[in-house]
């Protein structure tokens, strides 16, 4: 009799354990969670998980240049990543967000353009020849 009671208790305990395990592995109406390797990643606090990067543009104005034109940042295919109407005589600094994988860009202003490597993080636009 004691043996029977023992096996009944063990059986109930096993059923409860299996049920408990099932609840931890099955969440949200049956969405089974895989092992997490993403969760093991170690990154810096400053890392923003951003696939874009920042580029600083410094435009150096020329007091004797009256032109007004669009300053553009483009890739080799002509896709525009930044543009604004800019007076040639006024200086300004702007932060531009560009895809991190872009290798080559160029700035253009009033028909003049110059290629640059975005990895430098900063470019200076000077219209002087």
């Amino acid at each position: 009799m004691n043996m029977i009671r023992f096996f009944i208790v063990i059986g109930i305990a096993l059923i409860l354990m299996v049920g408990a395990c099932k609840r931890t592995s099955i969440e949200r109406n049956g969405e089974i969670k895989p092992q997490q390797s993403f969760g093991g990643l170690k990154t810096s606090d400053k890392f923003n998980w951003n696939t874009n990067s920042e580029l600083m543009i410094q435009f150096e104005g020329n007091q004797t240049d009256p032109r007004i034109a669009a300053l553009k940042i483009l890739d080799d295919n002509g896709h525009i990543y930044y543009q604004k109407l800019q007076k040639a005589k006024e200086s300004f600094i702007a932060k531009v967000i560009i895809p991190s994988h872009i290798q080559n860009l160029r700035w253009s202003y009033a028909g003049k353009f110059e290629k640059f490597n975005p990895k430098t993080g900063k470019i200076v636009v000077n219209l002087q020849p």
């Binding site: 109406n29 969405e31 923003n48």
Partner: protein, 459 residues
């Protein structure tokens, strides 16, 4: 021979001594024309100054100056090059303010000769650099004697053609005949970006980043004042890998609701958990405009074939995608809303702040790492379970291990199959992440070694 004189010119302060073939030396400025006819010349001692340009059109301008003390002055201009030949004493030059019609002196053209202090020049090239000189002269017996020491030299550019007069040159103006619009800037610059969400925040999820997958693209139209006129957003809902009925929204960081005139195209019919302003932005968002894109992803992509989720199991029916197009009007036909205008410098790529509202529980927002929550977010979730947001230092939606709950990829990428860890599908992601973005920055591009396509849904 009269022309075979040897002339030596010395400058000594303000006096020029000219020695003619008679080899006579004078104590006053003298030009000796020939032995029998000598003329005394006092050269100008003050050159022109204070150049000023008034730009009349891309091909014409008025050039003004303060005159020197000559009896007159000659004005020269040269396209793209400095003067290379000096005007000769006693020579006769024809002046014409239509550039190119007057006499040539080397590369320069004579625009004007006389005693005025301005000349309006026409027939210039647009978007070109011109050098200008004003050279004083002394007239003696109908001959001009040019001062080579005191003169004005300057340069300027001509402007570019602008048909609609919005200050944006036609070559840059996407709407050259519309003065209210000038530029279209698209984000991403090419195609679509992909937003990938985990929706168990503040708890840790399974990191397959497919609980909600939305592609996005938006275009901002701006005017000649660099202010936003309108914006068009396209959201393509691609997959739902979780059972929560999430809403999707975006905030425009730094753009207040009253700077928007109208919002159209949202899919918010039946929303009971929030209200809206008359312009379509969400009510009671005092700091940043919030646009609810859709109230429930499952309204757009219903389940099919008895599967729990949508488009994350390759064996399940392809439910397709849903496209939501939202239009924001800022300046309506030239009229700004009550809150005023929005500069493109404010509404740049960084202002776009997409997020989900978990199970339509309004205060439970999940944003990209370090993006600020809306004013309706329940800050009580921060710092609970696995979240380690610290608003005081601008840290948001990062776990204690610095892991995010959402990813923004600047190009459209395939998402993972259900139950597949993101790292198993994107093989260089972990290298990128653990190098803090320095290594393999192109981990998401379809290049050899980047993807395990067997782990991805590619349609």
């Amino acid at each position: 021979m009269k022309n075979q004189r040897i002339i030596q010119i010395f400058r000594n302060s303000l006096t020029i001594f000219i020695i003619g073939f008679a080899f006579q030396v004078y104590s006053q400025p003298i030009f000796t024309d020939n032995v029998t006819d000598s003329v005394s010349i006092t050269y100008p001692t003050v050159g022109a100054s204070n150049p000023n340009f008034v730009y009349l059109s891309p091909t014409s301008l008025t050039f003004k100056w303060t005159s020197g003390n000559g009896t007159g002055r000659i004005v020269l201009a040269s396209l793209d090059s400095t003067i290379n030949v000096w005007p000769a004493d006693k020579a006769t030059y024809t002046a014409n303010s239509s550039y190119g019609s007057g006499s040539s002196i080397g590369s320069a053209k004579v625009l004007y000769s006389g005693n005025a202090d301005s000349v309006t020049v026409t027939n210039l090239n647009s978007n070109a650099k011109y050098y200008f000189w004003v050279i004083e002269y002394t007239t003696v017996s109908t001959y001009n004697y040019f001062d080579t020491q005191y003169f004005l030299k300057t340069a300027t550019y001509t402007s570019l053609p602008d048909l609609d007069g919005d200050n944006v040159p036609d070559i840059d103006d996407v709407f050259p005949s519309d003065p209210l619009r000038a530029f279209v800037t698209t984000y991403p610059a090419v195609g679509f970006g992909t937003l990938l969400f985990e929706d168990l925040w503040p708890g840790i999820g399974d990191y397959d980043f497919n609980d909600l997958v939305v592609d996005y693209n938006y275009s901002v139209v701006s005017n000649g004042d660099n202010n936003v006129v309108e914006a068009d957003y396209t959201f393509v809902t691609r997959a739902i890998g979780g059972d929560l009925h999430n809403a999707f929204a975006f905030q425009l960081d730094g753009v207040q609701s009253d700077k928007i005139t109208t919002v159209t195209g949202t899919k918010t019919t039946g929303v009971t958990w929030t209200t809206f302003n008359a312009n379509g932005t969400e009510f009671d968002q005092p700091n940043h405009a919030n646009i609810i894109v859709f109230k429930d992803a499952y309204d757009l992509l219903p389940t099919s074939g008895g599967y729990w989720f949508v488009n994350v199991d390759p064996n399940a029916p392809d439910v397709g995608t849903d496209t939501t197009k939202i239009h924001l009007t800022f300046i309506d036909n030239g009229t700004a809303p009550s809150g005023g205008t929005v500069s493109t410098a404010i509404m740049d790529a960084a202002a776009f702040n997409p997020y989900i509202i978990v199970n339509q529980q309004r205060g439970k927002e999940i944003h990209l790492a370090n993006k600020i929550p809306s004013d309706k977010a329940n800050l009580g979730f921060f710092g609970t379970v696995n979240d380690n947001s610290i608003p005081g230092i601008g840290r948001y939606y990062k776990s204690y291990n610095n892991l995010p709950w959402a990813l923004d990829i600047n190009t459209s990428i395939p998402y993972t199959k259900e139950k597949v860890d993101f790292l198993q599908a994107y093989l260089n992601f972990s290298i990128w992440a653990q190098s803090n973005g320095l290594t393999n920055p192109d981990w998401y591009i379809d290049m050899p070694g980047n993807r395990n396509t067997s782990k991805l849904i590619i349609r």
